[in-house]
Point group: C2
Amino acid sequence: MDNISIALDAMGGDHGLSVTVPASIDALERNAELNIILVGDEPQIQQHIKADGRADTVKGRMSIQHASEIVKMDEPLAQALRKKKDSSMRVAIDQVKAQEAKACVSAGNTAALMAIARFVLKTVPGIERPAIVVSMPTELGFCQMLDLGANVDCTPKQLFQFAMMGAVLATCSQGKARPKVALLNIGKEEIKGNDMVKGAHALLKNADDHVDYVGFIESDQIYSGDADVVVCDGFVGNISLKSVEGVARVTSFFLKQEFNRNWYSKLTGLLARPALMRAAAHMDPRNYNGASMLGLNGIVIKSHGGADRVAMRAAIEYAILQVEKDIPAQVKNRVSKLVNLGND
Amino acid sequence: MDNISIALDAMGGDHGLSVTVPASIDALERNAELNIILVGDEPQIQQHIKADGRADTVKGRMSIQHASEIVKMDEPLAQALRKKKDSSMRVAIDQVKAQEAKACVSAGNTAALMAIARFVLKTVPGIERPAIVVSMPTELGFCQMLDLGANVDCTPKQLFQFAMMGAVLATCSQGKARPKVALLNIGKEEIKGNDMVKGAHALLKNADDHVDYVGFIESDQIYSGDADVVVCDGFVGNISLKSVEGVARVTSFFLKQEFNRNWYSKLTGLLARPALMRAAAHMDPRNYNGASMLGLNGIVIKSHGGADRVAMRAAIEYAILQVEKDIPAQVKNRVSKLVNLGND
């Protein structure tokens, strides 16, 4: 296998270098074909590499690209985009543009990452806006859900494009020859939903040759495995995803409360722990960390801001998968075949 | 305490009479002041009462109002509203209009129930559209979330009205003198969100005298208890609620899978069961079944369609609470004080 270079925004995320450097070395140890360009403050990066102590084991496959600025997690978009041209995020994306790297990974500010990526890399012809897509665990495996927050207001045509891109990802990363694509709605009947969803439904129904469209699904079906691709606008997708995060947190809160109630429940909790942990692992976002910004001329992976070392490594390895499958070329190819279908 | 009459759509829901009749008798046994009017097919209702065998224990507090038709769960709105004037749903709501009952409870078709209720009872002056509100469990107690599916497209003004109604319910049902009201959004910053949310934000910020508005929250905070009232449009609310239902189902699926893996995990699962059940009870929708259709001149409670006997009883008892607090009068009173505040 050819070498794969990935540019990592080493300063991004809630934990910055204390996560990005060890996770990079973990990924390098596990993936012999991988090269990582750590982008950020060189002296600080050097210091963290030294502290880690494993630099020798991955010799020659780790380099540093200095960047003098950092995009803050709450930094306004315009400022990040226009004023910080030497931010670690921007320089990491520039590496992709300059073909020094095949992909960029960042745990930084999502909105800034999307805006900079779109500005630097541009979208594939036929795609108006990139979408954020995540693999969600289902009873039957995974589904690709998009958009998860990049696009607050969408047109039916844009949802149609998301459907096409999601289908490409389901085919490439899950091996589904003809993935089932569904539109997220508040009911299954044709009369349900808002104008945007109804419009996208009409476009998808008429695109039989291009996509296996299975109609509307409600959000309680996302996790059942009924669809391989779930399409929605970014507002709705973000609300759905974060609702689940919230309820996972409160469930864990109630579980701890109940298992800590007395010595007997503490004991049973201890005994049940292995099975509980295995069940939780199925749903653990750390194990499938890495959202893809689909529709760009290049691969950009957004890690969860709070990612720990395991999660960050998962995001890097997801970038490797996207490089191996050459997702941007696949998207370009698929979209180029659409004539008069939402892309007229 | 005065007697409280509640009209129950006895034919509604996935399980119909086999749930509504026993649940009614359960509720009557537990609530001495309660009277129930069972609305539906009289011979069938009689038969189920007889089969239950407890009619004597609640003598004189249960009556039957015959209705010859049933609104099906998937029946088109227009047909349910215009063609079925003798449906159990319609006749139950008519009982409220005629002041024969103080509240109506139905587990039937949500859209039909809302449309018929709105047509028969009308909205309180100052409220353009009723909203569906549910009490959601949080780490600190409960929050009122609305709208959960009645209104697919909303204006900022309507969201503002939902905020006022939600605050009334939080005060009356949770004893919060000045409930914290938040708007559901995809970020906390003012620049985040769509035009509808931004417009509602502007209205609520200027309504200090009327509401303790705490700004935007993201959907992972719904369950943390940071807000007593969470406001959103019906599309987003429905997506959020059902996402949580879906993930609860897949979590339970993975738990069963892991606890059934071998004899040891089966045993630990058995031992941990009491604590797991207690934790699950906090989140069990059966224990807080009953969505309120707020903003109508009358009390209409929507039970989950799949409600079992326990859940149906919870919905009936929620109706009693709403009658005792006279929620429609409270809403009317609160809204009448709004001058030039989203209701100009």
